[in-house]
Amino acid sequence: MPYDETVSNLGLDEYKYHFIDEEKPFFQAQRGLNEQVVRQISENKGEPEWMLDFRLKALEIYNQKPMPTWGADLRGLDETMDQIYFYIRPQEKIGRSWNDVPENIKRTFERLGIPEAEQKVLAGVGAQYESEMVYHSLKKEWTEKGIIFESIEDGLRLYPELFREHFSTVIPPADNKFAALNSAVWSGGSFVYIPKGVKIDTPLQAYFRVNQEQMGQFERTLIIVEDGADAQYIEGCTAPVYSTNSFHSGVIEIIVKDNARFRYVTIQNWSNNMYNLVTQRALVHEHGHMEWLDGNLGSKLTMKYPSCYLVGEGAHGEVLSIAYAGDGQHQDTGGKVVHAAPHTTSQIISKSISKGTGRSSYRGLAKVYDGATRAKSNVACDALLLNETSRTDTFPYIEIDDNTASVGHEASVSKIGDEQLFYLMSRGMSEDEASAMIVRGFIEPISKELPLEYAVELNRLIELEMEGSVG
């Protein structure tokens, strides 16, 4: 391993995705949000009546709900919301091969390495540009096994009954203000169906790109994993850096049925002018197994707490969360596990690093309902502070209504240990080199879980040096 890196050249601070493509969208709604925008979105998508009704009801709920004040500072958001475009349709049709995708958009994804990764290691790829999926494709072998991997719009169009049966059952619009917003203006995202017993050994991937300045992206993903199936899904996100703020608010609903396994990986690397407020939740049935692997490196402010609702006996939920907050960033992340059935188990592991004026907050919930006998949950959070101006918080909620539950939470905060530094420096490393090595070691328990070998562009997010021990 080369020893010439420092904390600053771990690559976390350098944003490599600042490139802007000149483009002319097929359709662009006016700025701001009102009923007309919602109707335009629905009309553009040629949706059934029930979906338009659903959107309009959600808009009402959104307008009624106050801005949450319990978490990060959202005061700048109102202004942003008036300025952004809630819907931009970049092209008329969705591509099934990269050749169908307009040249300039294709170029963007080529620069992100997506087509290359698809050929090598992915089972299927979806790519979203502004408000719509511009490309969606699944390898033939998986199509033959009955797997559905479509844009969410095509999911609604092609599988109306399956779609309607599950849509919004995990995260109803009234769940929170931003789930209501997404329910009103959702556009893009994936519809995934893994049939009973099908095990897919390479991941499905969706890539989200915002190109336009002052853009709001509201993708919606619905994933149904049937009994005994096994799959994994990766999402990545980037945007160019503008001086004004953009907004991303996704809703991800996952249903993991009996004995199924599913892993959802997010590598969020939005530019530092992005508000990123996402609701992700999985409903896990009997002996199902759900894992969230949530990496938050970018954005101005992220509020995101992937959740597992363990509703079937013996269900298991896991959240592995890593957050990096550089100058001016606030990562308010964590995870929630709700035990609503006997013998359910869960684990949340969170690691955060705050650098410069960065602030990382862990916020999480471990809840055991009465009757969820013998539930077990363990939460561990570690925070590393790199500078005097860095800040970290831990806000865990533990709510236990069953006495047979066993729930534990632990957290620690530290700076890079003098003794560790001294040891490494006595072996001839500079202080910066030694710090970098300690940082890598700190996040290793989670980074080793990252399926890096699958997604080429992830390598560009966290430099390979950081993964020295894995690479």
Partner: protein
């Protein structure tokens, strides 16, 4: 030997009359949940004998109380306790400093046979007896009625009462206490004086339907030492009674202070207490908060590590039965560098009892070399018991060691099995494990007499 026969009587009858016929807009616009007996006229009546500065303090606190909305469950700090449980609308003001004709036997028994450097007995919001070791008095130790201290030692009291530690702005109930406290206790230990025995204060409510406002101000001057034990007790009531307390404890440089709050109220009582400890350079300021009694108990305790090198050991213990509800809200405010705080709160719950622990370690910018720890452990002894635990950290300095841990679980089957394999019955094994669970807290308290009393109380409560 001091008595408080000189304590002035306060006539509350006028206040009650005024309350019955609200004449001004403010009373008509009173926020919900406010009791008709609790009004500005009542504050004026309580303040009648006060110096002007203290009267002004009470009235400004009353203004804060009026301007502060009643907390609702929408507030994070009140998320798990509904204010309506406090039954504030079902009590009248206890008659301030009107001394009861006879002191109930239960109240008398509270201080009997207990080792103490000084004692205070308070019944229904009135001081009935204050005693202090004569030698200590001669060495400058003060133990007296707080209102009297405000007249005799105005500088000391004015500097510390409801200012930097527990100002009215701390919250609606802190403001209410600052406006309406009666029969407060004032303790001052001069520089370098060390009390070998604790100061014991006992507070008794003899009948339901009243609200009392106990207030405590403890000042330990440089290098001094004292332990102060506040005990709350009453018979069991079918109807509610309410105690809304305020406590401020100051440890000057290098002082060593233990503050203990023993809440042993009977059923029916609602206990609200805001407690603040303020530790200056190199001082040691420990606290133990015990909640065994009452129907609903809510304790807000904030320890401020104000001076470099200060230390606070913060212990808590609650043991609930039937429908008891305990809510602990703690803060460890690290303002100064090189300070240490270590919190351990443990709760065991039978029946439908419920406990809430919300604690926060806050490390302010510049408080380098902070060591701050926080541990909350809960034992659920029945299927209907419930516990919430929210151990929070907010860290704004980088050279710190902070950690917290929280657990909720049941009795360890392996421990029980081990004891039973040694011939113990299941019941005895369970008692022993519960006892051991609390012992971790008790063994950290350097007050053997108090620890023995607590052991007996816990033993009495183990099913």
């Amino acid at each position: 030997m001091a008595d408080v026969s000189s304590a002035p009587r306060i006539d509350l009858s006028k206040a009650k009359k005024k309350a019955a016929q609200p004449s001004n807009g403010a009373a008509a616009a009173a926020p919900e949940g406010v009791n008709e007996h609790i009004n500005r006229a009542a504050v004026e009546a309580v303040a009648a004998q006060d110096e002007p500065w203290l009267r002004a303090l009470r009235l400004s606190a009353w203004k804060v109380y009026e301007d502060t909305p009643l907390p609702t469950r929408k507030l994070e700090e009140w998320r798990y306790t509904d204010v309506s449980k406090l039954a504030l609308d079902r009590v009248r003001l206890a008659d301030g400093l009107a001394r009861p004709a006879t002191v109930p036997a239960g109240a008398r028994a509270l201080l009997e046979g207990k080792e103490a450097a000084g004692t205070v007995l308070q019944v229904d919001g009135s001081l009935v007896d204050v005693r202090l070791d004569e030698e200590l008095r001669q060495r400058g130790v003060i133990l007296m009625d707080l209102a009297e201290a405000a007249r005799e030692h105005p500088d000391l009291v004015r500097e510390h009462l409801a200012t930097k530690a527990l100002p009215p702005a701390a919250g609606k109930f802190a403001a209410l206490n600052a406006a309406l406290w009666t029969a407060g206790v004032f303790v001052y230990v001069p520089r370098g004086v060390r009390l070998e025995k604790p100061i014991r204060v006992a507070r008794w409510i003899s009948e339901p339907g009243v609200v009392v406002f106990p207030r405590t101000l403890v000042i330990a001057d440089e290098g001094s030492h004292l332990a102060y034990v506040d005990e709350f007790a009453s018979p069991d009531f079918d109807e509610p009674a309410v105690s809304i307390g305020g406590v401020e404890v100051f440890a000057a440089d290098e002082a060593d202070v233990q503050y203990v709050s023993l809440q042993l109220w009977g059923r029916g009582v609602r206990h609200l207490s805001a407690q603040r400890t303020f530790a200056e350079r190199g001082s040691n300021l420990d606290s133990l908060v015990v909640n065994l009694g009452a129907s609903v108990a809510r304790v807000d305790l904030a320890a401020r590590l104000e001076g470099p090198g200060s230390r606070s050991d913060m212990l808590g213990l609650c043991f609930g039965q039937d429908g008891q509800h305990f809510d602990h809200n703690t803060r460890q405010d690290h303002v100064a560098d090189h300070a240490t705080s270590d919190l351990l709160y443990k709760g065991a719950l039978y029946d439908r009892a419920h406990s809430v622990f919300r604690g926060i370690i806050k490390v302010f910018p510049g408080a380098q070399r902070t060591d701050a720890y926080q541990t909350n452990r809960n034992l659920l002894l029945s299927t209907e018991a419930g516990a919430e635990s929210l151990p929070n950290l907010e860290i704004q300095a980088d050279d710190v060691k902070c950690s917290h841990g929280a657990t909720v679980g049941q009795l360890d089957e392996e421990e029980l099995f081990y004891l039973m394999s040694r011939g113990m019955t299941h019941r005895d094994a369970e008692r022993l494990v519960i006892f051991g669970f609390f012992n971790d807290v008790l063994e950290r308290l350097p007050l053997p007499g108090v620890v023995e009393e607590l052991r007996a109380e816990i033993e009495r409560r183990i099913h």
